[in-house]
Symmetry: none
């Protein structure tokens, strides 16, 4: 294991941030970095978007739930976020420690989140004029990209006075269409929403859910089979599985996702991301 | 694969039936044969019980759904059933072709099934006085064993005017307590019901369910993770996974069940049955 | 995990030994207990044989190699061994700490091992007249069973002046023929040796081997695929996978073995043993 330890040690937060900053993504390309669970960084053109950055140990502090491995970045490393997208209020998605540090250090970063998250995010230090509501099913233009929040059912669709409580995001950026599902099962209407536009990169959870996790307060997502079938039906050009690695008791073996692809739709293109890996997507 | 073809050919229905008939199960022992899907045969003392015998190709005839391998017995081979237990009306559980032949050939065989199955079973030729209702949560004595039907939620608990639509069976036979779950998810109240008696052999589905199968009319069950957690919580002495092998599009890899056992509870005793295998259980 | 911890705690060495002692194995039956790695206990009639009992932490003391879980018995718990069979000199097979304690406490226990192990075993306290050489390919009668050592190739067949360095054992006991492969790959001649007698229970390693483990001094075995194919070709009635659980860096997922069975020969009967489980085998 010494080699791996070495490899990990060798890839410092500084190196990772520098890689993000120096990576060139000409028109019709995108780069994705995987930070664990559903935390990803997406770069297209000169814009960098963080989705659900879980870089603290909020859940360990609050509930004794340890990460399987340390966050690859500290919140204070994040000086390059043009936007932070939050899918819902759970601590491993809306990580207020991380959000607070990013907001303080980067006055220009904008934040998009379901309306019901706004109060907590403002309290964490996000400025009113930097905070945008994730209004589902409509495109909204931002500087350098546009977003269409997609309702997510975690495990149920829930509407609050501020709109959907759980969302995913359709991100149209630099000529590449990216879907980040957030935490969701496959609900009636999801596939139809996805079919409204050709999706280049689809990122979906695979950890599933069950009666016993539910009993422990762990809300479920689609499992690896549903993820494969959804990706196949929605015709994602490339599918990235998410949400399997950071919490041992709520994870999944990514190999099950891969094996089911090979059984169900061996032409489906997938990419299992290594920790902190950068993937470059070239459209056409 | 010639060796396997040979192995299979070598084990004719006649040999299988003769094995059932000659197997001795002294007090506090039971023998179980696996016929695929949720079809099992249980022997204790001199009594033989068939649960959900799916020995025809009903589903292929009706819906073009082929078996992954031929039924190991034909309905006409079954001359040794003291009782046939049916868990619910789906064709791969209440197989009317099989039931019809068994009833005609064996006037003494009794049938136990949810009340809502009775009309169809009578029409298939089961005599009124041989047909018993699966009344949930109460023990009923039969000749040589007693039964307590347990509500099953496939995927929901459903009560009809005739009682529960889906059931499993607690079978107390020859000093051995056996639970056959039928088709069910883990619902609130199931574990408590199981904990009411120490269970020697627990047989549970592992095929799960998902939005896409549901869309195709395939109702779901617990998955391999829930099966392991249920078995561990209910403290089954031995757990046999079921419902993964006969229909390719609704199956599961039994190895996933085994690997999850080793991750979650490596002291949990399990038995993955080979096709047509006989397992002998010795209680202490 | 409290339930499992409970389950484990509830099964003390005393309970395990008492279970061995009280288990009845009438003619044509055998009982097998799994103690981890390749350590098994076999009972037939009133004879109890330990194979490769690794009950100490020799490898942790010598090389810092930790067990994945504590040995289920201490050497001093073993007061019921009629015979101890050793397959080869590696510390997790010929565990001199365990052998020494057993020899001291049980003057009647006999030991069978390759000749090249004898000096070390004598030094550990095994009496000259209790120590027998594992001479390959010939049956030898002992009190209550007979043995035929089978050459093992770990990874090579090696002959010393004292005969084969690595062996497995064919154990004919109480009407049941049991093959414990020891540490071996499938070498030319092995299958033919196995086909010389019908084998009821075949126990085979599944951990494989590779260039990197070899570099670390870890000699390889057959892998799960070879184990399945060997079992199918040799027509074991029941196959038990061994050697996957005690050392994390030299283990295997038993589910892979199960899944490969279902792919290659779904009629092959197998049993993955839970930790400390007792399995009772009934020969027709």
């Amino acid at each position: 294991m010494t080699d791996q330890a070495h490899a990990q040690a060798a890839r410092t937060p500084k190196m990772l941030i520098e890689e993000m900053n120096r990576t060139r993504t000409p028109q019709d390309t995108a780069a994705v970095w995987f930070l664990g669970q559903e935390s990803v960084v997406i770069k297209g053109g000169d814009r960098i978007i963080y989705v659900d950055p879980y870089l603290s140990d909020e859940l360990e502090q609050k509930a004794g739930i340890q990460r399987a491995y340390p966050a690859p970045l500290s919140p204070s490393d994040v000086g390059n976020a043009d936007a932070v997208l939050i899918t819902h209020e759970h601590d491993d998605h809306m990580d207020l420690t991380t959000i607070s540090v990013i907001a303080k250090q980067n006055p220009c970063t904008i934040f998009v989140a379901p309306g019901c998250c706004h109060a907590a995010m403002r309290e964490a230090g996000v400025a009113e004029d930097r905070l945008y509501a994730a209004e589902c099913d409509r495109w909204k233009e931002y500087d350098g990209f546009r977003l269409k929040p997609i309702p997510a059912a975690h495990e149920e669709l829930e509407e609050t006075e501020h709109g959907h409580r759980y969302v995913g995001y359709m991100i149209d950026m630099n000529g590449v269409m990216i879907y980040h599902a957030g935490d969701t099962v496959v609900y009636p209407g999801l596939l139809e929403r996805l079919q409204e536009q050709p999706i280049d990169i689809g990122m979906v959870p695979i950890n599933g859910g069950d009666a016993f996790r539910r009993q422990d307060g762990i809300v479920g997502n689609m499992d690896f089979r549903e993820a494969v079938k959804l990706a196949s039906a929605a015709k994602f050009d490339l599918t990235i599985p998410l949400h399997y690695d950071v919490f041992a008791w709520n994870g999944e073996r990514p190999g099950y996702f891969i094996d089911y692809c090979y059984e169900y739709d061996p032409y489906l293109k997938t990419k299992v991301m290594a920790r902190t890996e950068r993937m470059i997507y070239v459209k056409d």
